[in-house]
Amino acid sequence: MRTSVTGRWALRAVALAAAISTSLGSSFALAADPVKIGSVVSATGPAAFLGDPEAKTLKLYVEELNKKGGLLGRPVELVLYDDGGDANKAKTFATRLVEDDKVVAMVGGTTTGTTMAMIPVFEDAKVPFISLAGAIEIIEPVREFVFKTPHTDKTACQKIFEDMKAKGFTKIGMISGTDGFGKSMRAQCLKVIGDYGITVLVDENYGASDSDMTPQLNKIKNTAGIQAVLNPGFGQGPAIVTRNYAQLGITLPLYESHGVASKSYVDLAGPAADGVRLPAPALLVADKLAADDRQKAVVMEYKTIYEKATGQPVSTFGGYAFDGMQLMVKAIETAKSTDPQKIRDALENTKDYVGVTGIYTMSAKDHLGLGTDSFRLLLIKGGDWVIEGK
C-alpha cells in the first residue's frame, strides 16, 4: 500500500518535470513571428494593488493593439510574469525574458526593489526596460537602457510644497509609511523642503499593516505651531491616517501623496477625506479636464477601456503601465525595427508624447521626462475631486 502511494507520487513528480520542461522550452511557436514584449510585475504579494492594475492594463493594451493590426504588421505577444513582490524572483524572471523568451523590450517592475534587481539583467543584455516604479535612483544616474514612466517622489514633494508656500504654511508635521514608497518619498521631501522655507516640527512613522495611527497623530495634534500635515504613503495606511485625523478632530489642512491618487482611497477614507489635498495626474479628473486640454483625449480613452473591461476605477499605477507600453510601442514604430538598440535610441528621443500621466520629453540626460507640471493639485470635496491648481 505504502509503495503504491509513493509510486503514484513518483509518477506525478515525473509528470511535473515533463510539464516543466515543456513549459520552459520554446513553447511559443506562434505564426507570423510576433513582436515579443516582456513584463514582470508584482500581481500578487504586498504590492498586488499596484501590480494588479498594471498587469490588467498591459494585457488590455496588447489586446487592443492586436485588434488594430499589431505592430509593424506583426502581432504583439506580451510575455507577462508575476514576481510576487520578491526581488530574487523578479531577477530570475528577467533572466528568463532575456535568455529564454528573447523579448525585444520590457515594460514592468512594480516596486523599486524588484526594478533595481532587474536592471543589471537588461543593461547586460542591452534590452530597453521601462520601469513602473517610483524611486529616482532608477534613472539617476542615467543608465543606457533603463527608463521609467512614474513621476518621481521629488516632483510630488515639490508640487505639494509649492502649494503650501502659496498658502503661507511654513511649519508642518509629517507622518510617513515605513513601506518603500513612504520612506523614499519622506527622504525626497526632506531633501527639497528647505527650498520652500518650510520646516518639519514633528516627523512620525507607521508600519505598512498598522490599523490605528492615533498615537502618532496625537503627537502632531499636541505640537503647537503646526500649520499643515503631510502624509507620504500608499495602500491602506493613508486611508486610516485620514480617518484617525478626523477622529481626533484635527482641522489643519492634510496633504496626501500621489500614492493614493485613486478613487478607492476616497471610498476607504469616507467622509474623513473631505478637504484633503493631493498631487495627481490628469487621469483622475479625466471628465473635469478642459475640452482643449491636450491630455483629455488619451485619458478618456484609457479610462473608458479600462473601466469597461475590469469594472474597477482607474488608478495612477495602471496609468504608468499604459504610458510605459505606449511609449515602447511608439518607439518601435519610430525605429521601424525590433532591434533593441534602435528601440532604445527612439525611446530616448521621445518628444512631446502626450500620455495619461503627463507629457513626456526624454533626452540622453533625462530618462523620465516629466516635470512638476504633469501633476494637478486636487482637493477632495464631497467624495469627488476638484482641480485646485494647474
Partner: protein, 290 residues
C-alpha cells in the same frame, strides 16, 4: 492626561482586535494541540465575504451571517481534508500544513475576491465619542464588546457545558476521552468550526477599523498568535489579556518613544515572556511527558 487617555483608547482598540483573533486560536489549540496559522484567514473571509456579498446587494446583517457561515465551512473542510488525515504528525508538520492552508486560502481569495483594500461602514456611525479630552470611535466599543462577549461565551462553554468539558478532555488525553465515550472526530470538527466562526465574526467587526484585503490574514495571525502566546496558549482569559497588553504596549511605545519599531513590540514581549515565564502569563505548569 488627555494624551495618556488617547493612547489607552488606541491601545484598547487595537488590543481588542488582537484579542478577538487570539480567542480563535484558543479553541482549536485546546481541542487538538494544533496552532492554526490559517486563523487570520478566517478573519479575512469574514471581512471580505461581507464586503462582497453586501456589494452584490445583500443586506449587511445577512451578508455578515453568510460570510460567517462560509468561514465555518472552510474551517470544517480544513479539519476534514488537511488536519484529520495528518493525525499524529509533529507540531512542525502541523504548522506547515496550516501555513500551506493559509497560502492556499489567500491564493483562492485573490481570485474569488480581488486584490484591493475594502472597508465596511461602521455599525453605529463615525462620530467620535469625547471622553476627558480624548476621542474614541463607536466601532472600537463594538470591537471591545464583541471580544468580551465571545470571551464570556467561550469561558462558559469550556467550563460549564458537557460538550466543552468533552473538548478539554479530548485535548488532555485523546485515548482516554474516546474510552469514556467522547466522539473525538466530532469534537475536533466542532472546534475548527467554532474557531472559524469566531475568526469571521472578528473579521466583520474589525473591518470598519482595520480595512481588509485578501492577505490581511498574515498580520492578524502573527499578532493574534503572539497575543495568545503571551497570555498562555489555550487560555481564553490569557488570549484577551495578551491581546490588550500587546495593543497597549504598541500604543504607548508609538506615543511616547518611537513608532519605528511598533511591529516589533509584540515579538519582543513574546521573547521576554517566554524566556522568563516559558508557559505564558496564564499558562499552567505542566511536566513534559517522555
Amino acid at each position: 492626561m488627555a494624551e495618556f487617555l488617547q493612547l489607552v483608547f488606541s491601545g484598547l482598540t487595537v488590543g481588542a482586535v488582537y484579542a478577538l483573533v487570539a480567542l480563535g486560536f484558543t479553541l482549536i489549540y485546546n481541542a487538538s494541540d494544533v496552532i492554526n496559522f490559517a486563523q487570520g484567514d478566517f478573519v479575512m473571509i469574514g471581512g471580505m465575504g461581507t464586503v462582497f456579498l453586501a456589494a452584490a446587494g445583500i443586506a449587511l446583517p445577512l451578508a455578515a451571517l453568510m460570510a460567517i457561515v462560509g468561514a465555518v465551512i472552510v474551517g470544517l473542510l480544513l479539519h476534514r481534508l488537511a488536519i484529520e488525515p495528518a493525525r499524529g504528525a509533529s507540531p512542525v508538520a502541523l504548522i506547515m500544513i496550516t501555513i500551506g492552508a493559509s497560502i492556499f486560502i489567500k491564493g483562492i481569495a485573490q481570485v474569488v475576491f480581488d486584490k484591493q483594500f475594502h472597508s465596511l461602514p461602521a455599525f453605529s456611525g463615525d462620530t467620535p465619542i469625547q471622553v476627558g479630552g480624548a476621542t474614541i470611535l463607536p466601532q472600537s466599543l463594538w470591537v471591545m464588546g464583541v471580544a468580551l462577549g465571545l470571551f464570556v461565551a467561550l469561558y462558559l462553554f469550556l467550563e460549564k457545558t458537557l460538550l466543552g468539558k468533552a473538548l478539554l478532555a479530548t485535548a488532555a488525553n485523546r485515548l482516554a476521552a474516546r474510552l469514556v465515550g467522547v466522539n473525538v472526530t466530532i469534537i475536533l470538527a466542532l472546534a475548527f468550526g467554532v474557531s472559524a466562526a469566531i475568526g469571521a465574526i472578528a473579521g466583520v467587526v474589525v473591518t470598519p477599523i482595520t480595512l481588509t484585503r485578501y492577505d490581511v490574514g498574515t498580520m492578524f495571525a502573527l499578532k493574534g498568535f503572539a497575543a495568545a502566546m503571551v497570555g498562555g496558549m489555550g487560555n481564553p482569559l490569557g488570549a484577551v489579556v495578551g491581546g490588550l497588553l500587546i495593543g497597549l504596549l504598541e500604543a504607548f511605545g508609538a506615543g511616547y518613544i518611537s513608532s519605528t519599531y511598533k511591529d516589533a513590540v509584540a515579538f519582543v514581549v513574546i521573547l521576554l515572556v517566554l524566556f522568563f515565564l516559558p508557559r505564558g502569563l496564564f499558562g499552567g505548569r505542566s511536566v513534559e511527558r517522555v
